[in-house]
Symmetry: C2
Subunit: 404 residues, 2 copies
């Protein structure tokens, strides 16, 4: 079987390496040998072993009937979207690690694939090498999934882990992450939660079969998390993680990305460093968790090549359940119930009695600083916002959602 | 699609419940509705909703051409093996949660299924509801798997967790496990590691494609683990878990079930209570872990119904990679390298210098008791046995393998 690879960056090179390295076992599993016929890249890679495969012209690939699978490792919406559509319409399966593309156009591309009896596969777009898309589609089929909560971004998890375990501040660990190549020069997509947001949009669309638009998901990053927050967390038996979640409650869907305090006994609490963890809850299976490297050249390539094998094994059959193209209306985020951990300055007189008057029953937290800290009762975001607005901004040091 | 269920015990009842409860979503995923036409059981269940489905005669099922899938939840080798063979030969897919059956006859039944273009599926035989067989077959296809290590028995994990967290002794927690229905009246299969042994035999056969016979796997249970061992473990930053492992080294396969000391930072260290965790290592993907409930009515039924959906979707196509029927010769267990944690009585004079003379370089462990404790250097089991034989049995309190 002949395939074409779009993009020879880090991940693309990983795909070339894996197909070469594990050639025999892959052929055994795919039922036929897998051969790269073209690599599309603007660079020529002259003198390298793959230079004879290089092309700059996508039409050569699109018009070659021998090409059954197109593998995209370029990133970004365009030209990936145009290439994906053209490939599927030409009856070629399309495999991608591109979460922007899947979050934005997944529903449409799945539908085109279905109509053309080919496959649009994207295991690598969420959780890197961790099998999660395929298990959701093919293993958890007896269940009604009602929640997926995950640590979906390795960069922020690395930063939070180091802050927690080594007592360092955000900016300092961010620099280390950049030096190690875990974080981009412009780290916004990671630290503001945008990357995790796209990934949870994909997972919720697949799990609930409805199109969850990533633009609708309330998203907070980790830039406000301080060393003092970590000390509080540790004292309480908690850790702070950037969690992406989607939940189905009373037939309405809710999704959110936000830093959360979770107990050290929570299955996701042990997911440290650049690792990802994805906790899935079903009405039959209970809790299942998938854990592994959420990014990187080889883990990502592993997922993409597994998709190639699956596409090769299922020539002429569409295997992935599609999600509805119509956008689902998410539950109003103000109506979602939540507990907050809050730190206040002690300047104000009678702060304790004021707080109890505003918030009602609370759980006080012993502070190692000259602060007043407490955990609110479960209440809606709207009610919390109203209550906290009664305090001066000056008195609020930080507020973080907590999983009680 | 019409199916037959063999056995209406706890798991069988779970299958009936799940098929009823999630009828619509299952039909959507299977591409057709799934209907139970027969239930084979010696009891009649008169007056119950399913009483009209009951039969005591397997031939009725075998000879009904409408039955496409037979689902076995009886346990034990016979008559399950006879029924499995007969069903497959009649062109019916066969689904089972029966680890004894799969460990003993899996290779043969997979071959018969393959020859008859049907499927022999057994997701529920390892890890209960946790998707592991299907991911190994369908997701980790880009990788050469070189190790699988897991906590595969929920009962022993419950016991070890309680011993560790609550400072209780083995016998006491075993009684609680029996009262809770986690352990059998005769707990041998669990506490002696036999259950985990069959499960790791299945996983290694699948991962390496060669028939690993469970009888060949060296298996130690947890009955020798004491409260004092737990105290040492905790002091060293370790926990004690019953690990089942299989590894491929230099083209030879090794498997073992044994209690092990693992660091609290090890991904399997957080797998507590009745949960199972399975860590898979591949040459591309690195480490991936699967976590969830390893037993119980509904989790097991979830895996079996997912197998039913898969079989329904793949009528006429064999989807599971088979393993070689020829038994593989496992690596000589005496040649496997290992570290031990050892506790000795201090009675003997000059015990420390004797130990250093026998074992060479060791790592001493501070003892909270009147004992001498240390960790050996990495060496073969044979060499360790020879060294430890130089000590009187009377002086040895305990020895446990440790993952350093």
């Amino acid at each position: 079987m002949k395939i074409a690879l779009l993009g020879l960056g880090t991940v693309g090179q990983g795909v070339v390496e894996v197909i070469h390295e594990n050639k025999e076992s892959i052929a055994k599993r795919a039922g036929q040998s897998i051969e790269i016929k073209y690599i599309l890249d603007l660079r020529s890679f002259e003198g390298e072993a793959i230079s004879h495969l290089m092309t700059k012209d996508f039409d050569v690939i699109a018009n070659d009937e021998e090409i059954a699978i197109v593998v995209e490792a370029m990133g970004g919406i365009e030209p990936a979207y145009t290439y994906a559509k053209a490939s599927l319409l030409k009856g070629k399966s399309f495999i991608t690690s591109n979460k922007e593309l899947v979050a934005m156009h997944g529903a449409e591309l799945l539908e085109i694939a279905r109509n053309n009896k080919v496959n649009f596969l994207f295991e690598a777009s969420v959780g890197g090498g961790i099998p999660i898309i395929r298990p959701l589609n093919q293993s958890l089929t007896a269940d009604e999934i009602y929640e997926i909560t995950g640590i979906l971004n390795g960069t922020t998890n690395f930063i939070l882990t180091k802050m927690q375990q080594e007592g360092r501040i955000f900016e300092d660990v961010l620099k280390e992450a950049q030096a190690l190549g875990y974080a981009e020069k412009n780290p916004e997509a990671d630290v503001e939660g945008y990357d995790a947001c796209r990934k949870i949009a994909i997972l919720s669309s697949l799990a609930f079969g409805e199109h969850v638009s990533f633009q609708d998901i309330p998203t907070d990053g980790i830039t406000q998390i301080t060393q003092e927050d970590m000390v509080y967390a540790d004292n309480m038996g908690y850790v702070i993680k950037l969690l992406a979640t989607c939940q189905k409650q009373d037939n309405s869907i809710f999704a959110r990305v936000s830093p959360m305090l979770i107990a050290k006994t929570h299955p996701l609490a042990m997911v440290n460093d650049v690792f990802n963890g994805i906790l899935v809850k079903g009405n039959v299976i209970g809790d299942v968790m998938f854990y592994g490297r959420g990014a990187g050249k080889l883990p990502t390539a592993s997922a993409m090549v597994a998709d190639i094998v699956d596409a090769a094994k299922h020539t002429g059959t569409n295997i992935i359940s599609f999600w509805n193209r119509e956008k689902v209306e998410l539950k109003d985020k103000e109506q979602v119930k939540v507990n907050y951990f809050i730190r206040l300055k002690k300047d104000a007189e009678c702060i304790e009695s004021i707080i109890k008057e505003i918030f009602g029953q609370i759980e006080e937290v012993v502070s190692p600083y000259n602060e007043y800290a407490f955990i609110t009762n479960l209440d809606t975001e709207a009610s919390f916002t109203e209550k906290i607005s009664q305090l001066s901004d000056l008195v609020i040091i930080n507020k973080i959602r907590i999983d009680k």
